[in-house]
Symmetry: C2
């Protein structure tokens, strides 16, 4: 089984694709740029959703649902927003098909069913939501409005990759409205911290919290906060963004509220989102050449039990013991699967669950049973141990916690080893090509320099880290003065 | 508050709209035929989703996600299916907008970004899913495939009503593949029973399980099973359908499997779905002229506590007691809200939570506290009782169960009183106009008669109930012989 996966060293990009497809996470679809999320991949997403949804609700947010369609005129209202998304919009122009008179059995677009105004499939929902908020917000008593939506969105990307960049993807988008600028900024920062906590504690992916440069900001935002993760090839992956939108959308859609002094003012806004892209980040952060490695907290199956037996009698004895163990594991809230499918051999199953990244495997044979032991294999280190059946459930529970922590520590150590300061242009270029990873370097704060560096090296400014230490220095490209280092990397 | 709702007797249809909008379930949107599901309505839908999702998983199904888009040529492949949906398809023809050179600040569809093949926004996903199943199914070992999807779909309806009929709606669609006809029929029937159980046990809405006539079948199905509910105006509402699709989609998309004897055969299919329409059914089944009446099992808030006080000192004492009660209620798994917002008076809150259909209201005043009592009001009967604070959590828990049962019994009694046999045409017409409700009557089993009855009376055959007793008789319209009564009604 594992032989079918391209190794990271051979072709990192192909390795990733192999994992997604052979790990049964997703498949290409017949529709350009769209993927099918397979049951195993979707179960992973469901676990991520559940954890995030709880965090959103615990911070006072509620869910709602807004239309899939954005009238073209709405998109036009916020200029920067329109420019940012116009080039990748799927456009609905008609609302009916009819039989094609020239070709029996085929359908054609009915020219008489042309929409008066074209509808855009939402690439993000600021426009449709702020048009709605106009009706919902009159007074300071209507604020803050803390709403989240789980939805599909479409951005017509030319180059797509499973999970990382697809024309349609699933995400959540929070859209909040506030009475003051301070409160909106606080909200944007709070949600960034929610994302960072989720990435680190559930996905076991360490992230750098920061703000984007003006050139990398969300179209329509005044400030974009982001979390940046490092993949095993040293490239960066933006794992979530939270935007302070100022009063831009309130102005565009004329959303005003009367404050306590009965004066009218525009409302302050934020939006924030993470998407199925996180599944791609997860795959690339932890997996190895034998397959997926999933963090226990969000793995669809945390423990798989494989019986090793000859004949019905042995099987029955093993079944009985396994049922006991399963019961104990379930009481501990552990997601466990017993794979006693007799069409496949244990060795095949071992490879299969390694491929699928199941954190812990218990293998129980007839002789083990006699001796009161079981083989415990952990996916992250591939270590195997033979342990007493006595207390195995409690042990497994601790082991899952240990694996979760180990994945995070390992990813963090790797990440920290691959953040390197560069003080000259030569050093910068050399590091990018030879070491890979993130580079901290001085920059003169101009869009021109940022663009020039990107053109020369394909590296972008990933972020200016929050709480970045001040340090006098000179821009690596222009030599102009700079007051702090920023984070550069090539990125997904 | 309650004065703003049109009464059922005055205008049933307006009453329904008032409830949906003033009960904060949903709003019209700026996009024709699409609605905004507001946080309170969405919380209701989330509770329905959670219950259904658990039932699907308990019956062996897994979730997945397929593309929003269906290429036009896919829709054409199953002829009946294509005919059924062609007239209400939203069609994507372009993938880019550009700046309009004739009008600064406005966008236009870029004529150079025309799709080679138009994409239909899924009205349902059989076509895209069966095209995918082709790659997933080779052998009998790949079967059964038991997959569900939670998604948005679009059907361009000309006349829309909040929840009941909207251009975009949310739903789940199960799509299963089986090796034998028997197994597929069994699956379709099993999922109908899941829907019926959900409607009756969670929504407290009694339903009649039946099969549709050929004329009312899903486009592409060989048999459509349905559950039919009765609204308070006596009209029927189809609350869920489950389809046995035969080998139609397998043939259309060439999905074959090799059986145990290594022979190739087409796969057998089912599909089944329920949608946000159920929220409309729920509203119409139980609510009254004062607002929504929600069944406890799916109510977003099951218990609301309103304090009645003057001054901070009283408030503090009440707060302390309420915190105790809340704690106990939460331990029992009850969703409780303490509304101590001091911008609104208790009377206003009472009306507000009546409008929102919260099943139980506890009102606690300073004098109550002294006397160790609390006022308990139930939304369904509007009965109020003053009870000892001692054991109030346990009492409330039982009361919620009683309300759930009472709503079901009441709806069932109403439904049963409004099912009437008609033996002649005159009787049929008279009953429809004067009594309203469902009518059981003989029918000659022809599509012509079914159509003629519909044209004359607007009543349709809702279903042929499962386990329908055989009874010789004569068709009410044509007098031709019939072997059983079928269920007629006007419907939503």
């Amino acid at each position: 089984m594992s032989k079918e996966i391209t190794s990271r060293a051979t072709d990192y990009s192909q390795w990733y694709n192999d994992l997604v497809i052979k790990g049964s996470l997703a498949d290409y679809s017949a529709v350009r740029g769209c993927m099918v999320i397979k049951p195993y991949g979707f179960a992973l997403w469901e676990n991520m959703q559940a954890a995030l949804d709880k965090m959103f609700k615990d911070t006072g947010h509620v869910n709602a649902y807004f239309p899939l369609f954005v009238p073209k005129s709405f998109l036009e209202k916020e200029e920067g927003h329109a420019e940012g998304f116009a080039k990748e919009c799927a456009v609905v122009t008609h609302y009916r098909l009819k039989a094609n008179p020239d070709k029996k059995g085929s359908l054609m677009v009915d020219p008489e069913a042309k929409l008066e105004e074209e509808l855009i499939i939402r690439p993000t929902s600021e426009a449709i939501i702020w048009n709605t908020y106009k009706d919902w917000i009159q007074s300071h008593r209507d604020l803050p409005l803390l709403i989240n939506q789980w939805a599909n969105v479409v951005r017509w990307e030319m180059r797509t990759r499973l999970f990382l960049r697809t024309a349609e993807f699933l995400w959540q988008e929070g859209h909040t409205a506030h009475a003051t600028k301070e409160e909106a900024v606080e909200e944007a920062e709070k949600m960034l911290e929610v994302y960072a906590t989720f990435a680190e504690e559930f996905m076991a992916v360490p992230v750098i919290r920061g703000i984007k440069t003006a050139g990398e900001r969300f179209a329509g935002a005044e400030e974009t906060y982001c979390i940046e993760a490092m993949m095993q090839d040293g490239k960066a992956l933006q794992a979530g963004t939270s935007h302070f939108l100022g009063q831009n959308f309130a102005r565009a859609f004329d959303v005003k509220y009367s404050n306590k002094e009965n004066q009218l003012d525009y409302v302050w806004a934020t939006s924030w989102g993470v998407s199925t892209r996180l599944v791609g980040a997860l795959v690339m952060a932890h997996s190895d050449d034998d397959g997926l490695v999933l963090p226990p907290k969000i793995a669809p199956v945390q423990v798989v039990i494989v019986p090793i037996y000859k004949g019905d009698e042995q099987k029955k004895m093993i079944d009985a013991k396994v049922n006991e163990i399963m019961k104990e594991l379930k009481v501990l809230g552990i997601r466990v699967k017993y794979d006693d499918n007799d069409n496949a051999r244990p060795g095949w199953k071992f490879a299969e669950y390694e491929m699928k990244g199941v954190p812990v495997r218990l293998a129980l044979g007839a002789r083990d049973l006699e001796q009161g032991v079981v083989e415990v294999a952990r996916r992250d280190t591939k270590e195997k141990r033979t342990l007493s059946l006595e207390g195995i459930a409690a042990y497994t529970n601790l082991l899952l916690k240990e694996i979760q922590e180990n994945l995070f520590s390992k990813a963090k150590a790797f990440r920290d080893e691959h953040i390197t300061p560069a003080n000259t242009w030569d050093e910068f270029v050399h590091l990018l090509d030879e070491k890979s990873g993130f580079i901290t370097a001085h920059w003169d704060c101009t869009a021109e320099t940022e663009e020039a560096i990107k053109e020369k090296t394909k590296a972008t400014i990933r972020c200016i880290p929050l709480n970045n230490p001040k340090e006098e220095g000179k821009c690596i490209l222009t030599g102009k003065p700079s007051v702090q280092r920023v984070l550069f990397a090539r990125a997904y």
